[in-house]
Every structure is written in C-alpha cells, then in structure tokens.
Symmetry: C2
Subunit: 541 residues, 2 copies
C-alpha cells in the first residue's frame, strides 16, 4: 500500500479527481470536434455540436417530465439516432438507461418494465404495438411513452403519444448535465436472457463504460475519426459500448434500421465505414451477398465478431474481400467484449487453415481487464495445455455491479472474487482461451442468446409433453437454431407442427424450435438428461 508517512493535504479534490463516465467524451467532443460529423442515418446528419445539443435537450425534457436521478428510462428502438442519443441524454439527466430488445415478446417486455420500473419509454413507431401490448400486460404503473417516428422508413407518427422531435425542439438547450458524483453510480440496465425463464437485470457503472471505451480503442487499433457502423444492437450490452466510444475519437456513427448486406456494403462505399462489430451471421451475410448488393471499396474494414468462432470458410472468403476479422468474447455481465484474439506477429506466415485455427480462439484479456483465465471447480488455475477444461473466470473494471434486486444471484456470480462466466473453455500454452462448451446451455441464433431452459419450460407447458430438452442445431444462416427433443406422456399424441405452433404463440420467433424430435430422452442414473447425447444426435441429423 503506497501511502507515504505524511500525506497531509493530499486527499482527492475537485481539481484532481473527476468520476469516470462516458458522458465526458461527448462533452469534450462538442468542444474539440464541433464540426466533425457525429451521426449519420439517411438524410439525418449531425455534427458533434448538434449531437451534444440534441442529447442536452433530451436530458432536459426528461427532467422536465419528472425523471430524477436514479430513475430508469427504457427504450424500444433499433440502432437509430434516437437510440444513440439516449445513451448520452438519459444519463445526462442522472437516469439509468434500459435498452430493451425489440425482438422480445410482450410478456417479457412487460416483465422488464415492471422489474426495472421504467418511468419513461422511448419507442420507435415500428415497435409501438409491442410497447403498448407490453404496457397493457404490466402489473405496475406504465411508463410514459415518447414515440420516435421514422416516416422515411414507413413508420409515421401514430398520433397516440408525444413525439420525440417535437419535444426536443421545445426542450431547454442550456440544461446543465447531471454528471455522476461517484463513478460507481448506475449508468445502464441490460436484461440478459440468462438461463432461467425470467431475464436478469444487469447493472452497469459509469466507470466500467468509460474504461471499456479506452481499452477498445487500443484493441481495435483505432486512430482519430474512425467511421463506425453500429450493427450490434444497442440493446445488447449497449452495442459493446461503441456508441459511447465514438466521441472520444471524433468518430462518425453510421446508423441502420435493418441490417442487410446491401446496407453494410453501401455504408462502406458511401460513408467510408472503417469499423463494425457483429455476430458471425453478419459475416456470412457479406460473403454470400448477391452481386447487385455488393459495392467496391479500397480500404480495409476492421471487424470484431463475437458469439461464436467465425467459420474457417467464411474467414477465408471475407478476408479476401477487404475485411480483417478479430474474434472477441464477453457477456452482458462484462459490458460486452473483454477478451480479444490478439494477433501475434509470429502467426503472419501461417497457412490458411492454421490462421483460421488461431482466429477461432477467444483470446486474451483486453487492456482494461485485470485477469481472465480458466479455473476448475475449486477455482484453481487449469493446466494451460489446450485440453484441460474449466470455467472462464473474469476479474476487472468492465464487470457489472451485479443483478438488479437479486443479491443472491450476484453473490453467486462473484463467488471467490471472480465473475463466473458459465462458459467452459481450455487454455492454450500461450494463455489464449478457447471455448469448449457452454455450461449454461445457451443457444446463439443470429447473435441472439436463447435460453434452452426457457424454451423447455414452454414446451413442458403443453398437455401432451412429459419431458423436453432443447439443444443447439447448427444452421448455415443463423449459426444455431433451437432443436427440441420431446418425450410425450404415455398415450398422449402431438405433432411436430403442433408443438412448434404452441411454442411460437408463447415465445419470440427466434426462440421457437425449428425442429422437434420425439422419443425417450437419454438420462443419467440420477435422472439428469444427458444433453451431451442429444447434441451427438443433432450432429447426426
């Protein structure tokens, strides 16, 4: 402990200690990059001076309608300018941003609104029916809805709610931002699909988001004024915190309602996009794009991908097209990516299959993290031999505060001073981590996490079903889709179509099993279903 014998007068004060927050990045950008383009979406193109002004007005209008520090403000918006503005405007009035997944079913949205206690809900007009349905299903008080229309995209205002642009226009442009007094204050609330039927509310601190932005600049080898396309949904770990990072670099954020190969190629060719992040499905989309959707470009585009290792064939094809792909790994609980498959110079000469082999690793700790390693059940380091399996354990400043109103789950996740990722991995002799299996049976479909337990729960609710087990089935388009194995009750009958329709009525589309296989489930002597065996069966299907 480096305290000197006499430290009188050396305490923190306003001059030498400022709580870390990504809000500082936008305040600085408004000063040092005022005329730089900050956000592009179709005809919408604003400078940092204008972006700052719009975020200030959003903070002002929220405060005006009664949002006070510590309150939750939720959003149901695709990756559009209003969603980016919420990332600064909501915390700038002291509130906590809760970006909700627009693909969820109304019941789950209602649960989130009740659990998080949102006072205001910003809704893109396309998702207004979902929002209104969810509000009708809530147990508690409904949040005030602010509608964000997008007429050029075919979503004009419904007329049923106050409108975003009109409120912004009337708001106080001189509102003084409410900066955190403590960098541990809550910045955002992100619900994870988790492993149980009900999502858990992951709470982010200002400090972690600030350090995520600083560390990501280094890992992604970004210099000033990148052009970044926001493909990862901002309702997933706040888009890996990249929108908070852009003002730090005077970068340009390119928005997009629907992620298509044409939209991405257009953004690269028209706006000069230099960086984006996305699930492997996005890489497949680019590689398999129709000729008329492709555009020529002559710079290298840096891509972060996560959720699953990019397939060697995809990697080989996409790198020839001018993209450099780096795999990263993280969870909602870690603000997004916390490891990177850091490329080593010694690998430059590797033949293609070996290149893909090393790129399939999840890698090493990013600069803002302290320690990411693999441990056995007793929390001892596993041998770094590329074969011994253990759980990925994470310690560092980009780890959540915990789960909202769930101290038990928080304590369990942090047992022994590490965040327990639930992901099973091996560690290579050079320290690189590679995921071997998922302890929590998460299925990743098109970049979305699906809890197999949740899908099983729904199927088991069908009168004819005795037992259900859901595992991932590899899928060329989505990466993985859910495949259900079902044991029917003695004498009961149900068709595959009927069970899929039953699930579809109760789950978001992406969570619905694409296939149902009937038969007795393999079990251990203690009656535990052997998913390992089911995965073998899926592989043989």
């Amino acid at each position: 402990m480096g305290w000197m014998t006499d430290e009188s007068g050396l305490e923190k004060c306003a001059a030498n200690f400022v709580p870390l927050t990504p809000l500082s990045h936008l305040a600085r950008a408004a000063e040092v990059f005022p005329n730089q383009t900050a956000v592009i979406h179709g005809d919408h193109r604003v400078t940092y001076a204008q972006y700052y002004d719009r975020c200030t007005r959003l903070a002002a209008l929220l405060a005006e309608i009664g949002v006070t520090p510590g309150d939750v403000v939720a959003t149901l918006i695709p990756n559009l300018p209003a969603q980016a503005e919420a990332h600064f405007g909501v915390p700038a009035c002291g509130a906590v941003l809760n970006t909700i997944n627009i693909r969820l079913d109304p019941d789950t949205v209602a649960y989130i609104l009740d659990h998080g206690g949102a006072k205001v809900l910003l809704v893109d007009t396309e998702f207004l029916p979902l929002a209104e349905d969810a509000c009708a299903r809530m147990e508690g008080t409904c949040p005030a809805i602010i509608e964000v229309p997008d007429a050029p995209a075919g979503f004009p205002a419904s007329g049923r709610h106050p409108q975003y642009e009109e409120l912004l226009a009337e708001a106080n442009p001189n509102f003084r931002w409410i900066m955190p007094d403590d960098e541990w204050e809550s910045l955002a609330l992100n619900y994870t699909s988790g492993t149980t039927g009900r999502p858990k509310g992951v709470v982010y601190h200002h400090r972690g988001a600030y350090l995520m932005t600083m560390g990501t600049v280094i890992s992604w080898q970004m210099v000033l004024r990148p052009v970044f396309m926001q493909i990862v949904p901002l309702f997933h770990c706040n888009g890996w915190n990249h929108t908070w990072m852009m003002p730090l670099l005077g970068g340009t954020l390119v928005c997009c309602r629907d992620i298509t190969a044409a939209a991405i190629y257009d953004a690269i060719a028209d706006h000069g996009v230099t960086h984006f992040g996305g699930a492997p499905i996005v890489l497949n989309m680019l590689v398999n794009a129709d000729a008329e959707d492709r555009r020529a470009f002559d710079h290298r585009v840096e891509v972060f991908t996560a959720g699953a290792p990019p397939a060697p064939a995809t990697l080989s094809k996409i790198e020839k097209l001018g993209f450099n792909v780096t795999q990263v790994y993280g969870l909602t609980e870690t603000f997004g990516h916390v490891t990177e498959c850091l490329w080593q110079g010694a690998w430059d000469g590797l033949p293609e299959p070996d290149r893909a082999g090393v790129k399939a690793r999840q890698g090493v700790a990013m600069p803002m993290m302290e320690e990411i390693t693999v441990m056995d059940a007793e929390m001892a380091q596993t041998p770094r031999d590329g074969t011994a399996q253990g759980e990925i354990m994470i310690r560092g400043n980009a780890v959540m505060k915990g789960y909202l109103k769930n101290p038990e789950a928080t304590a369990e996740a942090f047992a022994g001073g590490y965040f327990h990722s639930g992901d099973i991995a091996v560690q290579h002799p050079d320290g690189y981590i590679q995921i071997a299996d998922r302890a929590k049976d998460i299925i990743i479909s098109g970049g979305e996490n699906i809890s197999s337990v949740e899908v099983e729960g729904v199927l088991m609710g069908h009168g004819a079903v005795n037992l259900a087990a859901v595992v991932a089935q590899p899928d060329e388009k989505w990466g993985e889709v859910p495949c259900a194995f079902v044991e029917l009750k003695p004498g009961a009958e149900a068709s595959e179509e009927a069970l899929i329709a039953f699930a579809r009525a109760r789950l978001a589309g992406f969570k619905t099993p694409k296939r149902v296989v009937f038969g007795e489930l393999p079990k251990t002597s203690t009656g535990k279903i052997q998913k390992f065996e089911l995965r073998k069966q899926v592989a043989a299907l």
Copy 2:
C-alpha cells in the same frame, strides 16, 4: 446521482473493481506480448517476459533490503534500462518512485533526499560523485546506494556500492507484486523547480498515471507495437508517463544516455522509431544536424514537443524531413502533457506560415482531462477572443495529489476546485489555448525549468550586489538562457566574470546566468522590479 432505488448487492467487489495502476499494463504485457522486444539499449535487448522478470526481481530485492510500502526509492539515472525498470519495480514493492534530476547541484539533491526521505538510491555510475556528495550534505539518514554501472559507455563499477545487475541476479523471481489497494495511493514523487529557491515535491497517484497512458494513446494516434525513443528525461514528470504506456501497446522502448542528433537519427533508422517527445531544442538539433549525423528513413515519425512553441522555421524544415510535430502542454503537477494542439482537418490546406501559427498553440484538453480553460483573477471564464489574458486552469484525473508536506501550497494550487497553472494565456474562439506569458518567471533552457527567483537569490548573496533580477534571454541553441540585471551596492565593484563564477559555484551549470548587465533596475512606485522592462532591454541587446 444515478443511484437506483434498490441497489442491494451492487457494491464494489474484487471481481468488478480493480484499482487503476500502470503496473497492470506490464503484468498484462508479460502475458500477451511475452516475446515482443520491450527495451533496447545498445547490446541490451529484452522481451516483455524478461522485462517483467527484471522488474519483479527489482521489487523483490528492494523488499529484501527493507523497503516497505509507502517508502520512497530515489534514482539518479539517465534514460537507461534501469531507470525504466524502476518505474515498475519500485511501485511493484509498494514503494514511491522519486526520479531525481541528474543535472542538479549536490545541495539540491541533498535537500530532495532529506525532504522525500528516500530509503534507497539507485545511481548510474556517471552520477555517483554527485550522489555521494549529496549524501554527505544531508541532514538526515543517507539512503542505501545501489550502483548501476554502464561499462560499455565508459562507466564501470566503482566497487564502492552493491551493484544493480548482481543484486537482480540473486533476487527472487517469484516475488508477488504488491498492487495498490486504492488507486489514490502514491506512485511517484517529482520535485519541481517551482518559483522559490527550494523545490516542491509533487506526488502522483496510480489512477492518474494509468489514465495518462490511456489518453496519450489516443492523442498520439498510436496503434499496437510502436517503437518509442525516450528522450524526455524520466526525471521530468516521469518522461510524460510514456514508459508506463509502452507495455499497454506492446511497444518497444529505445533508451539513450546522451541525446544527440546522431543518436536520434540512428535510432530511427536502425530500430524504426515511430514516436518520441522532446523540447524544441531537440527539434533544432535534428534540423541543424551535420550531414554525417543524418540517416535516411522512409516512415513518418510522430513528435510531441512541449516547453515552448516550436519556431515556424524549425517546423517548416523538420516536417520536410519526415517528422510530424504536435505541441502539447503541461506541468510537473499534471503528470506531463494535458493539452494537445489537436490538428483540425479544416487546417489541411493552410499555407505554411498559418500552419505554424496554429501549431504554436498549446491547444485543447487531452482525452483524460475534464476541463482546461482560461480564467480571470475572479475565476470567471475569460472571453474566447484570442486577446483577453487569464490563467490556465486545469481540472481532471491527471492532476497531482498535491505537494508533499506542504498542505498550504497544495490548498493554494487547488483553490476553487481547479489546479492553477500559473501560466498566462489567451483562448481563441475555437477554444484553443495559447500561452501569452509566464506568471512565475520560469526560464526554460534546453527543456529544463529555471526559477529566476532561485538565481536571483544566489546573486544577491554576493557582497557587492544590492539587487538582482533575472529574465530569459532568447538563445538559438537552448531556447532561453538566464540573463541577470544587477544593481551594485554604492561604492562596491564586481565584474561580469566574477559574478558568473560566483553563481556557477553555487548553481547547476544550466542555471548560471550567461550574461550580467549592470545598472539601476526599473521599479514601480511601490518598489517592485519591472521585469517587463528588463525583457524589453534583453530583446534590444
């Protein structure tokens, strides 16, 4: 304040909160860049694995000889590997690093050793006579000396003290680093020449050094694996914290005993140096180098310069040689640079004199700083009109804890919640700051700060001198040199040579006046010397 209604279980814990410290960078580099070259000096060339091992051994040997957390360990070493290692090895045993200026006189070094209370002093053999002389003049207990010989450079071991390499070889390579429990713990102690005769001890915190490294990467547009030459002395603001930054990037640190044009050109050509920082005198050295000292290179070298605006003629010449120069500004109290003259795209087309004009500005806040502006005596923002003068005021995380054992000076420096720089500047309409005058009469000679008050004090100690005033005289080689104006006592006599010799015996060489002008000093009605008038006279000399 973003505290939610229910934050139970959301407190900091070991999994989600790690004190910020530059020590983390080297620990990570040893894991992720183990085979990358970390440090080069002549035949000395070590990887990150070896650098980490050497720093660990240094920490171990210091702990072994009784250094405990919070103790001070001092150094008198040029920019050589041992000095870089001290930046990690000293704090890794919990101690505070006090790098002492090798150009100081023995009395001042003795004062610093007494005031800081160093327990151990690492000394390069070239500066052993200075260290031994200083120890003999101390009032308190002398520190234990560890000698760092450099035989290839003509400085073999004296045999009078334990030797660095021998102690390292015997030290415990498995010593467990003592990481800070609190990022506010003291990391380093840097004495500033200040404005009074006695230097003040500026105390750095771990948090500030960590954030300096993160912010500098962005300002300097560094990507992974830069090759950095340490020209700014590590005893000045710890070389602007660049040595702490290198492991974050897997960069290579090129050391140098004597800074010459030949040494810099060789390092660029032989090691591919991409970045260095230095006072304008270094730029002049490169521009005016003899043909045989120059080397060809075909990459662009990024240069940070500080201390004075680079002269337009120098800028014009050096940019044609392949260097891009950015002016930065800061003080010992701010860990080094905290503003940068951030280049705006709109300036790309400017004609040469206008380019030099904007590059002469000290600029805007770097990314890790919260607010740097110009205020009047009532601490109100001055008009941003490029003419209204005020004091540069600084607020952010790269500001010192305060002055050691001097709470009054600390409180004064931080009055009103800003660090008062003492530098007088104007602010342009775009927010860029430009220094207009120095409030504290500091003379900057070859990158070294000289307190005019200190030199005046020595001259006034001469029996024949009635009054002395010292101001900066522009100098082609050193930038500035001290020029003394002296009023002799009635009837007394003294020659210019005699006064210079008198000062030389009592001051470091660079502080000695190069010229003495005799005559009555111009004074205000209240008897205050009008230095303003003397500066006019110097300009006319």
